[in-house]
Symmetry: C2
Subunit: 308 residues, 2 copies
């Protein structure tokens, strides 16, 4: 089945405009027979005569008049479509879907998204805070453009960019016996009770690793699936905890928690920006990636300055 040919239609529009094959050929930079052939084929395709040749004047038929109007309609939709494609090519318009794991999604990304939004106000941003499994899932099923996380998936081909250091610090209540002491030997921790996240949490895994390497037993005071709850517990004196530095701004400022200066701490992990290697990043996504990598550093430095 022979579908309408836009090339023919475009040619027709010009011929109809001038009511002349010759002048249409000039405007189109085609030869006159080429134009004639296009019109002949268009007439054959549509099954209607488009022009009347009266003497050496060319007139539109009724069908031609109607087709001319439809041509304008069609090309105006196409123009609109091209504009849309143009805006998609530009990073300043479009949609962006970012996934983040719990900590980074709660404490780091929101600020950056705010800044990005200021720079690219017409970009529609979606952020999903997900656990590691769901994140990996969202990545491979293409539901997010990219993800920010600590432990990147290893079994799928991805592009990984180091994004920001994740300092895991030991915190305690200000009245804790270790608070304020400096260069606390690691062994001292053996007597402490810990508040921990659920198994599978990256932070918990890190803590377990260092205790295993030091061959010390890890005393668990409480297991909680939520950073806020852990912070509350520590502040209440239920024990100490290993937490991401970025989650502690307010608690440190208001002196509800203090960082313990223990040998081997902070443990510095990396947050990473990840996306599928196969993924065609949109202009918007590329802009966001660049933006994130530039601003992350600065933000982390600012934190460190503040901390000193």
């Amino acid at each position: 089945m022979r579908t309408l040919n836009l090339h023919q239609l475009a040619t027709f529009q010009v011929v109809a405009k001038h009511c002349s094959y010759v002048r249409a050929a000039e405007e189109l930079h085609f030869s006159q027979p080429a134009v004639s052939a296009q019109i002949r084929q268009l007439e054959a395709n549509l099954g209607v005569k488009l022009f009347d040749q009266i003497g050496r004047k060319t007139h539109l038929t009724r069908a031609g008049e109607e087709l001319y109007l439809y041509g304008q309609k069609i090309f105006s939709v196409i123009d609109e479509m091209h504009e849309t494609m143009e805006s998609i090519r530009s990073p300043y318009y479009g949609r962006l879907s970012v996934g983040a794991d719990t900590t980074v999604g709660s404490y780091v990304i929101p600020d950056l998204l705010g800044k990005f939004h200021q720079a690219y106000p017409n970009v529609e941003i979606t952020m999903d805070v997900l656990n590691r499994v769901m994140l990996e899932n969202a990545l491979v099923s293409n539901r997010v453009d990219m993800a920010v996380m600590g432990n990147v998936p290893v079994d799928i081909p991805t592009v990984i960019e180091p994004f920001a250091p994740n300092e895991l610090v030991l915190v305690a209540a200000p009245f804790h016996r270790l608070a304020g002491r400096i260069k606390i030997p690691f062994q001292e921790l053996a007597r402490e009770h810990f508040l921990l996240r659920e198994p599978g949490s990256g932070t918990r895994a890190a803590l377990e690793t260092v205790f295993q390497e030091a061959n010390l037993p890890l005393e668990i005071s409480m297991q909680v699936g939520n950073n806020s709850a852990i912070k509350k517990g520590v502040a209440a004196g239920l024990g100490i905890a290993l937490l991401s530095r970025v989650a502690l701004d307010m608690e440190l400022e208001t002196n509800r928690l203090v960082i313990l200066d223990v040998e081997g701490f902070p443990i510095v992990h990396q947050w990473r920006l990840v996306h599928l290697k196969e993924k065609n990043l949109s202009a918007t996504a590329r802009a966001f990636k660049t933006f994130l990598l530039q601003h992350a550093d600065w933000r982390v430095r600012r934190k460190e300055l503040k901390e000193v």
Copy 2:
């Protein structure tokens, strides 16, 4: 400048629908590489990626989603356009512009247009009643599809169809001295005064011709540019006149005028349907032509029966 290719867009729509090149190829009865090539070119033309290949699943990108919507819009306009063309191909829709000279346009065509309108109620009909010069002008400049007239233009290539006889009869007032007599010798007319149309009128020319051939002088009582005025004058006894039979229905019925039975009368001319040889008659115009030629005969016969 490379314009959008509808073939590519149509292919894209199917691929987008299935999110699969293979299944699209099946539906389109193309090979899979052909489909791939189409999409590749479309992406190049638009400057955007349309699909993400994640593993062996194919996903639409943002640009692809947008394009899919535009594709639907574009093809719906095109469908509508095809429907319009279809209706133009049919004789039951369309426009029709007919020109007619004064007599036939006033007394013959209106009835036929009414009948045609009953048979083709969706056809937009325009009739222009024009003098001979204007009619010829309208024909060559393509402002009317066809014309009905007595003296057809000879210097332009036309298609001419005899349409109906135009009986030119001599009429007088019922109290005229010749009224009621039969087989009046032509010579008797020499004593009569005539009411005539302006020079250039076909009827006048016909009368002048027969007088010239008989070598008789033509006595002019009055020259009037209008058939109604002539009829009024004749009825008032100002003289006799040569008039088209079809213009006399009412006057004969109400006995305001009578036909004179003079040797050599009525003079029978032809009305003809004329259109440019080069003109592409629309389906509607062809239907009207057929209709007119069929119904004209019948109508004239009816007139004659009534007259007897």
